[in-house]
Protein backbone atom coordinates (compact mmCIF):
# COMPACT_ATOMS: atom_id res chain seq x y z
CA UNK A 1 0.00 0.00 0.00
CA UNK A 2 1.01 3.61 -0.40
CA UNK A 3 1.42 5.42 2.88
CA UNK A 4 -1.54 7.52 3.98
CA UNK A 5 -0.72 11.22 3.96
CA UNK A 6 -2.71 14.20 5.18
CA UNK A 7 -4.49 14.48 1.82
CA UNK A 8 -5.83 10.95 2.26
CA UNK A 9 -6.85 11.71 5.85
CA UNK A 10 -8.73 14.74 4.65
CA UNK A 11 -10.46 12.57 2.05
CA UNK A 12 -11.36 10.21 4.88
CA UNK A 13 -13.09 12.99 6.83
CA UNK A 14 -14.87 14.14 3.66
CA UNK A 15 -16.09 10.58 3.12
CA UNK A 16 -17.33 10.36 6.72
CA UNK A 17 -19.22 13.64 6.32
CA UNK A 18 -20.92 12.40 3.15
CA UNK A 19 -21.83 9.07 4.77
CA UNK A 20 -23.22 10.68 7.92
CA UNK A 21 -25.24 13.18 5.91
CA UNK A 22 -26.83 10.32 3.98
CA UNK A 23 -27.54 8.49 7.23
CA UNK A 24 -28.80 11.47 9.26
CA UNK A 25 -32.53 10.72 9.20
CA UNK A 26 -32.08 7.06 10.15
CA UNK A 27 -29.85 8.07 13.09
CA UNK A 28 -32.39 10.66 14.29
CA UNK A 29 -35.15 8.07 14.07
CA UNK A 30 -33.14 5.51 16.06
CA UNK A 31 -32.45 8.19 18.65
CA UNK A 32 -36.12 9.20 18.73
CA UNK A 33 -37.05 5.74 19.93
CA UNK A 34 -34.79 5.72 22.99
CA UNK A 35 -33.38 9.25 23.22
CA UNK A 36 -34.09 12.77 22.06
CA UNK A 37 -33.96 12.34 18.28
CA UNK A 38 -30.97 14.58 17.65
CA UNK A 39 -28.06 12.17 17.18
CA UNK A 40 -28.05 12.41 13.38
CA UNK A 41 -28.15 16.20 13.60
CA UNK A 42 -25.23 16.33 16.02
CA UNK A 43 -23.11 13.97 13.92
CA UNK A 44 -23.88 15.88 10.72
CA UNK A 45 -23.06 19.22 12.35
CA UNK A 46 -19.80 17.80 13.68
CA UNK A 47 -18.47 16.24 10.51
CA UNK A 48 -19.59 19.20 8.37
CA UNK A 49 -17.62 21.44 10.74
CA UNK A 50 -14.60 19.16 10.34
CA UNK A 51 -14.90 19.32 6.57
CA UNK A 52 -15.09 23.12 6.68
CA UNK A 53 -12.13 23.38 9.07
CA UNK A 54 -9.92 21.07 7.01
CA UNK A 55 -10.77 22.68 3.66
CA UNK A 56 -8.43 25.69 3.97
CA UNK A 57 -5.46 23.67 5.31
CA UNK A 58 -2.31 23.58 3.20
CA UNK A 59 -2.07 19.79 3.12
CA UNK A 60 1.54 19.81 1.93
CA UNK A 61 2.58 21.76 5.02
CA UNK A 62 0.49 19.97 7.65
CA UNK A 63 1.28 16.67 9.38
CA UNK A 64 -1.40 14.11 10.22
CA UNK A 65 -1.27 15.07 13.90
CA UNK A 66 -2.14 18.70 13.21
CA UNK A 67 -4.92 17.70 10.83
CA UNK A 68 -6.44 15.34 13.39
CA UNK A 69 -6.24 17.97 16.14
CA UNK A 70 -7.98 20.48 13.86
CA UNK A 71 -10.69 17.88 13.26
CA UNK A 72 -11.06 17.31 17.01
CA UNK A 73 -11.41 20.98 17.88
CA UNK A 74 -13.84 21.77 15.10
CA UNK A 75 -16.03 18.75 15.89
CA UNK A 76 -16.13 19.60 19.59
CA UNK A 77 -17.01 23.25 19.17
CA UNK A 78 -19.70 22.57 16.60
CA UNK A 79 -21.48 19.90 18.58
CA UNK A 80 -21.16 19.79 22.34
CA UNK A 81 -23.79 17.15 23.25
CA UNK A 82 -22.38 13.69 24.01
CA UNK A 83 -20.90 12.92 20.64
CA UNK A 84 -18.80 16.14 20.72
CA UNK A 85 -16.49 15.21 23.58
CA UNK A 86 -16.46 11.54 22.57
CA UNK A 87 -15.36 12.02 18.95
CA UNK A 88 -13.16 15.00 19.78
CA UNK A 89 -11.30 12.86 22.30
CA UNK A 90 -11.06 10.07 19.71
CA UNK A 91 -9.41 12.41 17.19
CA UNK A 92 -7.10 13.97 19.79
CA UNK A 93 -5.91 10.51 20.83
CA UNK A 94 -5.51 9.57 17.17
CA UNK A 95 -3.42 12.71 16.71
CA UNK A 96 -1.19 11.73 19.63
CA UNK A 97 -0.85 8.16 18.32
CA UNK A 98 0.66 9.30 15.02
CA UNK A 99 2.69 12.22 16.32
CA UNK A 100 5.82 13.00 14.31
CA UNK A 101 4.79 10.94 11.27
CA UNK A 102 4.52 12.60 7.87
CA UNK A 103 2.54 9.67 6.46
CA UNK A 104 0.97 6.57 7.96
CA UNK A 105 1.83 2.95 7.29
CA UNK A 106 -0.61 0.14 7.97
CA UNK A 107 0.57 -0.29 11.57
CA UNK A 108 0.08 3.44 12.18
CA UNK A 109 -3.50 3.30 10.93
CA UNK A 110 -4.20 0.37 13.25
CA UNK A 111 -2.67 2.36 16.15
CA UNK A 112 -4.77 5.40 15.19
CA UNK A 113 -7.89 3.27 15.12
CA UNK A 114 -7.18 1.75 18.52
CA UNK A 115 -6.44 5.18 20.00
CA UNK A 116 -9.81 6.44 18.78
CA UNK A 117 -11.67 3.59 20.45
CA UNK A 118 -9.69 3.99 23.68
CA UNK A 119 -10.32 7.74 23.70
CA UNK A 120 -14.06 7.25 23.38
CA UNK A 121 -13.98 4.66 26.13
CA UNK A 122 -11.97 6.84 28.50
CA UNK A 123 -14.10 9.95 27.95
CA UNK A 124 -17.46 8.20 28.19
CA UNK A 125 -16.38 5.77 30.92
CA UNK A 126 -18.49 3.11 29.22
CA UNK A 127 -17.86 -0.63 29.16
CA UNK A 128 -18.93 -3.29 26.66
CA UNK A 129 -22.55 -4.27 27.14
CA UNK A 130 -23.82 -0.86 28.30
CA UNK A 131 -25.51 -0.07 24.95
CA UNK A 132 -23.29 2.74 23.72
CA UNK A 133 -21.01 3.45 20.75
CA UNK A 134 -18.31 1.53 22.63
CA UNK A 135 -20.16 -1.68 21.77
CA UNK A 136 -19.20 -1.00 18.15
CA UNK A 137 -15.85 0.77 18.59
CA UNK A 138 -14.14 -1.60 21.01
CA UNK A 139 -14.74 -4.87 19.12
CA UNK A 140 -13.83 -3.06 15.90
CA UNK A 141 -10.49 -1.92 17.33
CA UNK A 142 -9.78 -5.37 18.73
CA UNK A 143 -10.64 -7.07 15.45
CA UNK A 144 -8.44 -4.67 13.48
CA UNK A 145 -5.51 -5.23 15.83
CA UNK A 146 -5.94 -9.01 15.78
CA UNK A 147 -6.12 -9.16 12.00
CA UNK A 148 -3.09 -6.92 11.66
CA UNK A 149 -1.13 -9.02 14.17
CA UNK A 150 -2.02 -12.12 12.14
CA UNK A 151 -0.31 -10.58 9.13
CA UNK A 152 -3.44 -9.41 7.30
CA UNK A 153 -3.34 -6.35 5.02
CA UNK A 154 -4.74 -3.02 6.15
CA UNK A 155 -7.78 -3.55 3.91
CA UNK A 156 -8.42 -6.96 5.46
CA UNK A 157 -7.88 -5.60 8.95
CA UNK A 158 -10.38 -2.79 8.41
CA UNK A 159 -12.83 -5.26 6.85
CA UNK A 160 -12.59 -7.22 10.09
CA UNK A 161 -13.09 -4.03 12.08
CA UNK A 162 -16.22 -3.11 10.15
CA UNK A 163 -17.69 -6.60 10.50
CA UNK A 164 -17.04 -6.52 14.24
CA UNK A 165 -18.58 -3.05 14.53
CA UNK A 166 -21.70 -4.21 12.68
CA UNK A 167 -22.06 -7.23 14.98
CA UNK A 168 -21.49 -5.02 18.02
CA UNK A 169 -24.10 -2.48 16.94
CA UNK A 170 -26.62 -5.24 16.21
CA UNK A 171 -25.94 -6.71 19.65
CA UNK A 172 -26.97 -3.45 21.33
CA UNK A 173 -30.57 -4.41 20.46
CA UNK A 174 -30.46 -7.02 23.21
CA UNK A 175 -28.85 -4.73 25.76
CA UNK A 176 -30.41 -2.63 28.49
CA UNK A 177 -28.85 0.81 28.40
CA UNK A 178 -26.58 1.55 31.35
CA UNK A 179 -25.00 4.80 30.14
CA UNK A 180 -26.24 7.95 28.49
CA UNK A 181 -29.71 9.35 28.17
CA UNK A 182 -31.41 6.04 27.33
CA UNK A 183 -30.16 4.49 30.58
CA UNK A 184 -33.16 6.06 32.29
CA UNK A 185 -35.39 3.76 30.22
CA UNK A 186 -34.35 0.51 31.85
CA UNK A 187 -35.87 -2.44 30.04
CA UNK A 188 -37.73 -0.20 27.63
CA UNK A 189 -34.45 0.30 25.79
CA UNK A 190 -34.48 -3.40 24.83
CA UNK A 191 -35.04 -4.24 21.16
CA UNK A 192 -33.60 -0.99 19.80
CA UNK A 193 -30.16 -0.40 18.27
CA UNK A 194 -28.15 2.25 20.09
CA UNK A 195 -27.89 5.25 17.74
CA UNK A 196 -24.28 5.93 18.81
CA UNK A 197 -23.31 2.38 17.90
CA UNK A 198 -25.16 2.72 14.60
CA UNK A 199 -23.32 5.91 13.67
CA UNK A 200 -20.01 4.30 14.70
CA UNK A 201 -20.61 1.67 12.00
CA UNK A 202 -21.24 4.45 9.47
CA UNK A 203 -18.01 6.21 10.47
CA UNK A 204 -15.96 3.01 10.42
CA UNK A 205 -17.39 1.99 7.04
CA UNK A 206 -16.41 5.36 5.57
CA UNK A 207 -12.92 5.08 7.08
CA UNK A 208 -12.46 1.60 5.63
CA UNK A 209 -13.59 2.72 2.20
CA UNK A 210 -11.40 5.80 2.07
CA UNK A 211 -8.24 4.36 3.66
CA UNK A 212 -7.98 1.18 1.58
Amino acid sequence: MTAIDTARLKQMFDAIAVAIEADKDRLCQLDGVIGDADHGIAMELGFNAVRDALAPLDLAAVEPTALLNTAAKSFLNAVGASSGPLYATAFMRAAAAVKGKAALEGADVIALFQAMAQGIKDRGKAEIGEKTMIDAWQPAAEAAAAAHAAGKSLAESLDAALAAAERGAEATKDMIAAKGRSSRLGERSLGHIDPGAASAVTVIAAMRKSLT
Binding site: C28, G35, D36, D38, A78, G84, P85, R181
Partner: protein, 335 residues
Protein backbone atom coordinates in the same frame (compact mmCIF):
# COMPACT_ATOMS: atom_id res chain seq x y z
CA UNK B 1 -45.59 15.76 7.59
CA UNK B 2 -43.46 18.48 9.14
CA UNK B 3 -44.62 20.33 12.22
CA UNK B 4 -45.45 24.03 11.98
CA UNK B 5 -42.94 26.46 13.46
CA UNK B 6 -42.26 30.16 13.16
CA UNK B 7 -38.61 29.94 12.19
CA UNK B 8 -36.29 30.99 9.38
CA UNK B 9 -33.62 28.32 9.24
CA UNK B 10 -33.70 25.38 11.66
CA UNK B 11 -29.92 25.39 11.92
CA UNK B 12 -29.84 29.09 12.84
CA UNK B 13 -32.70 29.05 15.35
CA UNK B 14 -30.57 29.15 18.51
CA UNK B 15 -28.40 32.02 17.30
CA UNK B 16 -31.38 33.99 16.02
CA UNK B 17 -33.15 33.45 19.36
CA UNK B 18 -30.07 34.77 21.18
CA UNK B 19 -30.04 37.88 18.98
CA UNK B 20 -33.67 38.45 19.91
CA UNK B 21 -33.04 37.91 23.60
CA UNK B 22 -30.11 40.33 23.69
CA UNK B 23 -32.25 42.87 21.83
CA UNK B 24 -35.05 42.47 24.39
CA UNK B 25 -32.93 42.49 27.56
CA UNK B 26 -29.97 44.82 27.02
CA UNK B 27 -30.06 45.99 30.65
CA UNK B 28 -29.63 42.46 31.96
CA UNK B 29 -27.65 40.43 29.46
CA UNK B 30 -24.67 40.61 27.16
CA UNK B 31 -22.65 38.03 25.28
CA UNK B 32 -18.94 37.58 25.78
CA UNK B 33 -16.93 39.24 23.00
CA UNK B 34 -16.02 36.57 20.48
CA UNK B 35 -18.17 33.94 22.20
CA UNK B 36 -21.82 34.58 21.30
CA UNK B 37 -23.03 31.44 23.08
CA UNK B 38 -21.69 32.72 26.44
CA UNK B 39 -24.35 34.97 28.01
CA UNK B 40 -23.30 37.00 31.05
CA UNK B 41 -25.22 39.14 33.53
CA UNK B 42 -24.42 42.84 33.19
CA UNK B 43 -24.84 43.24 36.93
CA UNK B 44 -23.77 40.30 39.01
CA UNK B 45 -20.19 39.10 38.71
CA UNK B 46 -17.88 40.98 41.05
CA UNK B 47 -14.58 40.56 42.88
CA UNK B 48 -14.70 38.27 45.90
CA UNK B 49 -18.01 36.70 44.90
CA UNK B 50 -18.31 33.06 43.91
CA UNK B 51 -19.35 33.01 40.24
CA UNK B 52 -22.29 30.84 39.21
CA UNK B 53 -22.28 29.39 35.68
CA UNK B 54 -25.30 27.42 34.54
CA UNK B 55 -26.10 26.03 31.13
CA UNK B 56 -27.24 23.28 28.86
CA UNK B 57 -29.11 22.70 25.65
CA UNK B 58 -31.53 25.22 24.16
CA UNK B 59 -35.24 24.59 23.83
CA UNK B 60 -36.02 24.91 27.55
CA UNK B 61 -36.42 28.69 27.69
CA UNK B 62 -36.55 30.55 30.03
CA UNK B 63 -34.14 27.91 31.38
CA UNK B 64 -31.21 28.59 31.36
CA UNK B 65 -30.41 32.11 30.25
CA UNK B 66 -33.61 33.64 31.63
CA UNK B 67 -32.19 33.00 35.10
CA UNK B 68 -29.02 35.00 34.49
CA UNK B 69 -28.94 38.22 36.49
CA UNK B 70 -28.02 39.82 39.80
CA UNK B 71 -28.85 37.50 42.68
CA UNK B 72 -29.10 34.42 40.53
CA UNK B 73 -26.73 32.99 37.89
CA UNK B 74 -23.84 35.09 36.59
CA UNK B 75 -23.67 33.41 33.20
CA UNK B 76 -25.18 30.70 31.04
CA UNK B 77 -23.49 28.64 28.35
CA UNK B 78 -25.90 27.93 25.51
CA UNK B 79 -25.95 24.69 23.54
CA UNK B 80 -27.80 23.66 20.41
CA UNK B 81 -31.38 22.46 20.84
CA UNK B 82 -31.38 19.72 23.49
CA UNK B 83 -27.59 19.39 23.24
CA UNK B 84 -24.94 20.41 25.75
CA UNK B 85 -22.78 23.41 24.87
CA UNK B 86 -19.19 22.49 23.98
CA UNK B 87 -16.42 23.33 26.49
CA UNK B 88 -15.34 26.63 24.89
CA UNK B 89 -18.43 28.76 25.66
CA UNK B 90 -18.55 27.24 29.15
CA UNK B 91 -14.92 28.18 29.73
CA UNK B 92 -15.59 31.72 28.46
CA UNK B 93 -18.45 32.01 30.96
CA UNK B 94 -16.17 30.86 33.78
CA UNK B 95 -13.53 33.43 32.83
CA UNK B 96 -16.11 36.21 32.56
CA UNK B 97 -17.60 35.63 36.01
CA UNK B 98 -14.54 34.62 37.99
CA UNK B 99 -14.11 37.03 40.89
CA UNK B 100 -11.26 35.11 42.47
CA UNK B 101 -13.45 33.25 44.96
CA UNK B 102 -14.19 30.23 42.76
CA UNK B 103 -16.73 29.38 40.08
CA UNK B 104 -19.59 26.95 40.59
CA UNK B 105 -20.89 24.98 37.59
CA UNK B 106 -24.53 23.92 37.96
CA UNK B 107 -26.52 22.06 35.34
CA UNK B 108 -28.85 19.13 34.87
CA UNK B 109 -27.42 15.65 35.18
CA UNK B 110 -27.10 14.48 31.56
CA UNK B 111 -24.17 12.52 30.12
CA UNK B 112 -23.35 15.08 27.42
CA UNK B 113 -23.47 18.05 29.78
CA UNK B 114 -21.24 16.26 32.28
CA UNK B 115 -18.56 15.54 29.66
CA UNK B 116 -18.52 19.07 28.23
CA UNK B 117 -18.64 20.88 31.58
CA UNK B 118 -15.94 18.58 32.97
CA UNK B 119 -13.69 19.35 29.99
CA UNK B 120 -14.35 23.07 30.55
CA UNK B 121 -13.52 22.67 34.25
CA UNK B 122 -10.20 21.05 33.33
CA UNK B 123 -9.45 23.96 30.98
CA UNK B 124 -10.44 26.52 33.65
CA UNK B 125 -8.12 24.82 36.09
CA UNK B 126 -5.25 25.50 33.68
CA UNK B 127 -6.26 29.17 33.86
CA UNK B 128 -6.12 28.99 37.68
CA UNK B 129 -9.87 29.26 38.10
CA UNK B 130 -11.10 27.06 40.92
CA UNK B 131 -14.20 25.25 39.59
CA UNK B 132 -16.59 23.01 41.48
CA UNK B 133 -19.69 21.30 40.13
CA UNK B 134 -23.13 20.60 41.57
CA UNK B 135 -25.45 18.58 39.33
CA UNK B 136 -29.21 18.93 39.62
CA UNK B 137 -31.11 15.64 40.05
CA UNK B 138 -34.67 16.61 40.96
CA UNK B 139 -36.62 14.38 38.53
CA UNK B 140 -38.17 11.75 40.78
CA UNK B 141 -39.31 9.65 37.79
CA UNK B 142 -35.90 9.23 36.20
CA UNK B 143 -34.29 6.72 38.58
CA UNK B 144 -35.14 4.94 41.83
CA UNK B 145 -34.70 6.77 45.09
CA UNK B 146 -31.54 4.88 46.06
CA UNK B 147 -29.95 6.05 42.79
CA UNK B 148 -30.58 9.75 43.22
CA UNK B 149 -27.24 10.57 41.59
CA UNK B 150 -28.54 9.02 38.34
CA UNK B 151 -31.61 11.22 38.19
CA UNK B 152 -32.06 13.99 35.63
CA UNK B 153 -32.28 17.67 36.39
CA UNK B 154 -35.54 19.26 35.23
CA UNK B 155 -37.79 22.15 36.32
CA UNK B 156 -36.53 22.00 39.91
CA UNK B 157 -33.41 23.66 38.53
CA UNK B 158 -35.29 26.88 39.16
CA UNK B 159 -35.28 26.45 42.97
CA UNK B 160 -31.80 24.93 43.07
CA UNK B 161 -30.15 27.65 40.98
CA UNK B 162 -32.09 30.27 42.96
CA UNK B 163 -30.66 29.02 46.27
CA UNK B 164 -27.10 28.86 44.94
CA UNK B 165 -27.35 32.25 43.26
CA UNK B 166 -28.59 33.84 46.47
CA UNK B 167 -25.75 32.26 48.43
CA UNK B 168 -23.26 33.67 45.92
CA UNK B 169 -24.89 37.12 46.01
CA UNK B 170 -24.69 37.15 49.82
CA UNK B 171 -20.92 36.74 49.39
CA UNK B 172 -20.79 33.41 51.19
CA UNK B 173 -17.64 31.31 50.93
CA UNK B 174 -17.17 28.73 48.16
CA UNK B 175 -17.69 25.92 50.70
CA UNK B 176 -20.94 27.45 51.91
CA UNK B 177 -22.25 28.10 48.41
CA UNK B 178 -21.54 24.51 47.44
CA UNK B 179 -23.18 23.17 50.60
CA UNK B 180 -26.33 25.22 50.07
CA UNK B 181 -26.50 24.24 46.38
CA UNK B 182 -26.32 20.55 47.29
CA UNK B 183 -28.86 20.97 50.04
CA UNK B 184 -31.30 22.75 47.72
CA UNK B 185 -30.93 19.89 45.25
CA UNK B 186 -31.55 17.30 47.99
CA UNK B 187 -34.70 19.19 49.05
CA UNK B 188 -36.22 19.60 45.57
CA UNK B 189 -38.49 17.04 43.87
CA UNK B 190 -40.16 17.19 40.44
CA UNK B 191 -42.62 14.99 38.56
CA UNK B 192 -43.73 15.62 35.00
CA UNK B 193 -46.43 14.45 32.64
CA UNK B 194 -46.42 14.72 28.85
CA UNK B 195 -49.49 14.80 26.60
CA UNK B 196 -48.03 15.42 23.14
CA UNK B 197 -44.54 15.57 21.65
CA UNK B 198 -42.27 18.42 20.65
CA UNK B 199 -40.25 18.65 17.45
CA UNK B 200 -36.74 19.95 16.87
CA UNK B 201 -36.42 22.97 14.55
CA UNK B 202 -33.93 21.05 12.43
CA UNK B 203 -36.19 18.04 11.82
CA UNK B 204 -39.70 19.40 12.43
CA UNK B 205 -40.80 15.85 13.18
CA UNK B 206 -42.51 14.82 16.43
CA UNK B 207 -39.77 13.40 18.65
CA UNK B 208 -41.96 10.61 19.99
CA UNK B 209 -45.37 9.11 19.31
CA UNK B 210 -48.23 9.11 21.77
CA UNK B 211 -51.87 8.20 21.23
CA UNK B 212 -54.46 10.98 20.91
CA UNK B 213 -56.03 9.88 24.23
CA UNK B 214 -52.81 9.04 26.09
CA UNK B 215 -50.46 10.68 28.56
CA UNK B 216 -47.07 9.65 29.88
CA UNK B 217 -46.16 10.15 33.50
CA UNK B 218 -42.51 10.88 34.19
CA UNK B 219 -41.47 11.79 30.68
CA UNK B 220 -38.24 13.79 30.52
CA UNK B 221 -37.85 17.31 29.17
CA UNK B 222 -36.28 16.00 25.96
CA UNK B 223 -39.03 13.45 25.43
CA UNK B 224 -37.17 10.65 27.19
CA UNK B 225 -39.76 7.98 27.91
CA UNK B 226 -41.14 8.08 31.43
CA UNK B 227 -42.36 5.44 33.83
CA UNK B 228 -45.95 4.77 32.78
CA UNK B 229 -48.15 5.48 29.80
CA UNK B 230 -51.92 5.38 30.07
CA UNK B 231 -55.19 6.99 29.17
CA UNK B 232 -55.42 10.71 29.86
CA UNK B 233 -56.98 11.30 33.27
CA UNK B 234 -58.38 14.35 35.05
CA UNK B 235 -56.22 17.18 36.36
CA UNK B 236 -56.88 16.10 39.96
CA UNK B 237 -55.96 12.48 39.25
CA UNK B 238 -52.76 13.45 37.42
CA UNK B 239 -51.75 15.93 40.12
CA UNK B 240 -52.46 13.35 42.82
CA UNK B 241 -50.25 10.77 41.15
CA UNK B 242 -47.42 13.28 40.87
CA UNK B 243 -47.79 14.49 44.44
CA UNK B 244 -48.03 10.95 45.82
CA UNK B 245 -44.59 10.19 44.44
CA UNK B 246 -43.10 13.54 45.49
CA UNK B 247 -44.51 13.48 49.01
CA UNK B 248 -43.47 9.84 49.54
CA UNK B 249 -39.87 10.94 49.12
CA UNK B 250 -40.04 14.35 50.71
CA UNK B 251 -41.89 13.01 53.75
CA UNK B 252 -42.87 16.44 55.14
CA UNK B 253 -44.17 16.79 58.68
CA UNK B 254 -47.29 18.75 59.63
CA UNK B 255 -46.28 22.42 59.87
CA UNK B 256 -43.41 22.16 57.37
CA UNK B 257 -43.11 24.71 54.57
CA UNK B 258 -42.67 24.19 50.86
CA UNK B 259 -42.31 26.27 47.73
CA UNK B 260 -44.36 25.18 44.72
CA UNK B 261 -43.63 25.38 41.01
CA UNK B 262 -46.27 24.31 38.49
CA UNK B 263 -44.49 24.44 35.14
CA UNK B 264 -45.67 24.13 31.56
CA UNK B 265 -43.60 21.99 29.20
CA UNK B 266 -44.36 24.50 26.47
CA UNK B 267 -47.87 24.49 25.06
CA UNK B 268 -50.00 23.62 28.09
CA UNK B 269 -51.79 26.87 28.99
CA UNK B 270 -51.94 28.70 32.30
CA UNK B 271 -55.58 27.65 32.73
CA UNK B 272 -54.57 24.01 33.06
CA UNK B 273 -51.57 24.82 35.24
CA UNK B 274 -53.78 26.74 37.68
CA UNK B 275 -56.26 23.85 37.76
CA UNK B 276 -53.36 21.62 38.78
CA UNK B 277 -52.17 24.18 41.31
CA UNK B 278 -55.61 24.21 42.90
CA UNK B 279 -55.22 20.49 43.59
CA UNK B 280 -51.66 20.97 44.90
CA UNK B 281 -52.99 23.47 47.44
CA UNK B 282 -55.83 21.13 48.51
CA UNK B 283 -53.46 18.21 49.01
CA UNK B 284 -50.91 20.24 50.97
CA UNK B 285 -53.67 21.77 53.12
CA UNK B 286 -54.92 18.25 53.87
CA UNK B 287 -51.58 17.21 55.35
CA UNK B 288 -50.92 20.51 57.09
CA UNK B 289 -47.98 21.62 54.92
CA UNK B 290 -47.74 25.38 54.43
CA UNK B 291 -47.04 26.93 51.04
CA UNK B 292 -44.45 29.67 51.41
CA UNK B 293 -44.51 30.74 47.75
CA UNK B 294 -45.89 29.51 44.43
CA UNK B 295 -44.81 30.03 40.84
CA UNK B 296 -47.03 28.99 37.91
CA UNK B 297 -46.00 29.30 34.28
CA UNK B 298 -43.29 28.50 31.76
CA UNK B 299 -40.06 27.99 33.71
CA UNK B 300 -38.49 24.92 32.11
CA UNK B 301 -40.02 24.02 28.77
CA UNK B 302 -39.47 21.41 26.14
CA UNK B 303 -40.13 23.42 22.99
CA UNK B 304 -43.84 22.99 22.15
CA UNK B 305 -44.40 19.81 24.16
CA UNK B 306 -47.77 19.65 25.89
CA UNK B 307 -47.64 18.65 29.51
CA UNK B 308 -46.60 19.99 32.87
CA UNK B 309 -44.49 19.34 35.90
CA UNK B 310 -44.96 19.91 39.60
CA UNK B 311 -41.96 20.73 41.77
CA UNK B 312 -41.87 21.08 45.54
CA UNK B 313 -38.92 22.48 47.45
CA UNK B 314 -38.93 21.40 51.08
CA UNK B 315 -37.88 24.55 52.89
CA UNK B 316 -35.99 25.10 56.09
CA UNK B 317 -35.00 28.51 57.43
CA UNK B 318 -31.86 28.70 55.33
CA UNK B 319 -33.47 27.63 52.04
CA UNK B 320 -36.35 30.03 52.69
CA UNK B 321 -33.88 32.88 53.15
CA UNK B 322 -32.20 31.98 49.86
CA UNK B 323 -35.54 31.74 48.08
CA UNK B 324 -36.62 35.15 49.39
CA UNK B 325 -33.32 36.83 48.51
CA UNK B 326 -33.93 39.41 45.77
CA UNK B 327 -32.88 38.72 42.22
CA UNK B 328 -33.27 40.58 38.96
CA UNK B 329 -32.93 38.51 35.80
CA UNK B 330 -34.01 38.96 32.23
CA UNK B 331 -37.00 36.66 32.64
CA UNK B 332 -37.48 36.43 36.38
CA UNK B 333 -37.57 38.86 39.28
CA UNK B 334 -38.03 38.25 43.01
CA UNK B 335 -37.84 40.27 46.23
Amino acid sequence: MQTKKIINDGNRSVDEMLEGILAAHPRHLKSVDGSPRSIVARDGPRPGKVGLVIGGGSGHEPTFLGFVGKGLADAAAIGNVFASPPPDPILECAKAVSGGAGVLFMYGNYAGDVMNFDMAAEMADMDDIDVRTVLTTDDVASAPRDQRDKRRGVAGNFFIFKAAGAACDRMLSFDEVERIARKANDHTFTMGVALSPCSLPQTRRPNFEIGADEMEIGMGIHGEPGIARGKLRTADEITDEMLDRILAEMAPSRGDKVAVLVNSLGSTPLMELYIMNRRVKQRLDDIGVAIHATWVGNYCTSLEMAGASVTLEHLDGELQTMLDHPCDCAMFRAG
